[in-house]
Symmetry: C2
């Protein structure tokens, strides 16, 4: 296996024991990028020389931490002190922040190296960048963490940072066929990440295995149990799984339905329990609620851009701003109260189950790169602030990746990741 | 009354009817600043010429919004595109952000004018700036919104923005004898505010009356009810008040105890109800919990500064970082779970009462400007995310301001501000 194709956790072990050098790994990643970037367009900025220089310096020094020597893709929504940061918008072309975002600084402190910044949609909303799906260049990689997902899926990088406000980690992970991990809302610092929504924005991880997203997650949260308990996965107990196709299940196409049936068939005999987790009748329409909260909060969080740069924003974003400014603070106060109540209700789901199994997307990555697909199946979970992991284990009739997500109890990312590892070993052995 | 001494809501009416020009008001504020700034040191940056030019432009154009022509103090923790932004640290001297913070952009959109940036303690933690208490220059103004509180208290400005992570709005308001309003956590965008703590950071308002903080709050939240219902205050119903001296009451000195006794005596005969609100026995030690959450989250949110600029940070901040990095993510996950549970418990307080009456500080502003006083009495409310209003209505034996705070139900800022107005009319008629 070429070094750039190694799982991050395995590369990390080889880097720690000096069986693999940071330079060798970085070179392998840069070679893959050189080979494919002209078609995939995962990067908005790349500095190969600086990355190699940093790898050389790392090889010459002591072990730095759990991400020592791992090339990390960073979505261009995160501030970086030494790489331009454009937030996916021409308004910020060439912008140079004064500091690294907190998540970036934590990863660098743990030894990660940044070869560049990956493509984000415009302010992580719907207007896409140039990235193509590496599994089929005629299809969208999903968004908004488009470049991070594409680079990881294509073997350009072992790990990447993303953010989710509607579906921006889970959806591109699903479309590109990799693992995406959205932690519990509020658990990872958003300092230095362009702010869109207090209620929704969440920093997370993209990689090619559950252990890899857990490794990155353990650095982001400082919680070593996230990865520690996956070291001996076969020892972890079988999870209690709740089946939660959600009220939007009729929107799932035949590919997702086939993946669902296959997962249920595989997991039912070995799970500690696997049964329906009925949708609480008292829950409001989470999709409509998430849309209103997102519109109101984005229109206000991006007030500087809304007021001063309207002509340089996409029509889609200006439409969202108009919609959001039309939602008064009175309605928003009620929406936040509904969100708090819904989060309390959702917690009750997890009394007798460990994780919910739910759809990630309505289907495979849609054709064309003019849109990033439907965020439908993640809006509700993001609003509820619950941790989610996308597992890629199936193929559509067109041969594109399909999978499902597991949803954990708020704050119990540890159990979610352990269950995700357990399920994934059985679904994609 | 000189224009700079007018309540903001009254100045706003005169500005709207063009009975008062923005230039006249700005000049009056700048005159007061010129007279007093050499002693008070409320500003870290001031641009009188630019402020007057903006006032002139505003006077020549149409009415812009509810803050039309009001000079606004902005704590130097908020990004501003046209004024340097230092976050209270020499690390960022001369830093020029690319955009206004969301709160700043919203205020400017509503017509506010920024003559400068007000002093913050170092990254809004405990290491103080040069600001003195305008009521007695030998005493601290409190922190971390030191300059915002001092400028408003001294009549330099009618309104200012602050932030609170422990006690940074309520405490300086109390020490300087003005009204401080910390909204419900999560209700006002923190976009472009230097991030310290996901769980605690809250944007809020400082002014000389309840109506004034409500006016600014209505712009920050987009909720016009916050100010609308105060327009006819005598019509608002008497509130049900719960007395909540908190478990730390023994730390309140004789001045605060006297203010408490006086408030209870004044309000008891006219409140709809006024009775003890017993501290829920199931609540954890909120002060200890707030300290741990703040240390862990600040050490990670400020990772870039912690890793790269240790030598330019105060010992106090480096000590906090060491403490915070010593609190693992495992402990923090448990602390966040405790916080969520405590927030749910606190909500039950508000079944039969509208607001809690609680101490704001342990006493008057302490002597000296080497420290900013004890945040004790606000740590718990900040952790719970509850909206708070400080009411200045009493004097210490030394003639310095003393007061109490009202605490509202999460999300019910409207009722809190109405109750605060009602109480304040009776406490400081």
């Amino acid at each position: 296996m070429k070094p750039n194709q190694l799982p991050a956790w395995q590369a990390a072990q080889l880097l720690a024991s000096r069986e693999l050098s940071a330079v060798t790994l970085m070179r392998a990643c840069l070679d893959r990028i050189a080979e494919r970037e002209a078609e995939v367009h995962a990067f908005v900025h790349l500095d190969a020389d600086a990355a190699l220089a940093q790898a050389r310096a790392l090889d010459a020094g002591p072990w730095r931490g759990p991400l020592h020597g791992l090339p990390l893709g960073v979505k261009d929504l995160f501030d970086t002190a030494d790489l331009p940061t454009g937030y996916g918008s021409p308004v910020y072309t060439g912008h140079r922040p004064a500091a690294d975002a907190a998540a970036v600084a934590l990863c660098r402190e743990a030894g990660a190296l940044l070869p560049g910044k990956t493509v984000s949609t415009e302010f992580a909303y719907f207007h896409p960048g140039a990235t193509c799906n590496p599994r089929n260049l005629g299809h969208t990689p999903g968004g908004s963490s488009s470049g991070s997902a594409a680079a990881v899926a294509d073997g350009m990088l072992p790990l990447a940072l993303g953010t989710q406000t509607a579906a921006s980690i889970i959806r591109p992970a699903a479309y590109c066929g990799i693992v995406g991990y959205k932690p519990t809302h509020g658990r990872v610092s958003r300092g230095g990440v362009k702010s869109l929504s207090e209620t929704l924005d969440t920093v997370g991880a993209l990689a090619r295995s559950v252990r890899d997203v857990a490794l990155l997650g353990s650095v982001l949260t400082g919680d070593r149990r996230l990865i520690g308990e996956l070291a001996h996965p076969l020892a972890s107990p079988a999870p209690r799984i709740g089946l939660c196709p959600t009220p939007d299940w009729p929107q799932a196409d035949a590919d997702v339905q086939a993946a669902w049936a296959s997962a249920v068939q595989t997991l039912a005999p070995c799970a500690a329990s696997l049964r329906d987790a009925p949708w609480p009748a008292a829950l409001p329409d989470l999709v409509a609620l998430q849309k209103r909260v997102m519109a109101h909060e984005m229109a206000r969080a991006l007030s500087h851009e809304r007021v001063h740069h309207r002509a340089r924003l996409s029509d889609r974003l200006n439409d969202l701003f108009d919609e959001g400014m039309g939602i008064g603070g009175e309605q928003h106060a009620a929406d936040l109260a509904s969100t708090t109540a819904a989060r309390a209700l959702a917690d009750a789901w997890f009394g007798e189950i460990d994780v919910l199994l739910a759809p990630s997307t309505t289907g495979e990555a849609p054709q064309g790169i003019g849109a990033t697909g439907d965020p439908l199946f993640s809006r509700g979970w993001t609003l509820l602030g619950l941790p989610c992991v996308h597992l890629p284990f199936a193929q559509s009739r067109n041969g594109l990746p399909v999978g499902l997500q597991l949803v954990g109890r708020a704050g119990d990312d540890r159990r979610l990741l352990a269950a995700a590892q357990w399920c994934w070993e059985r679904l994609a052995p």
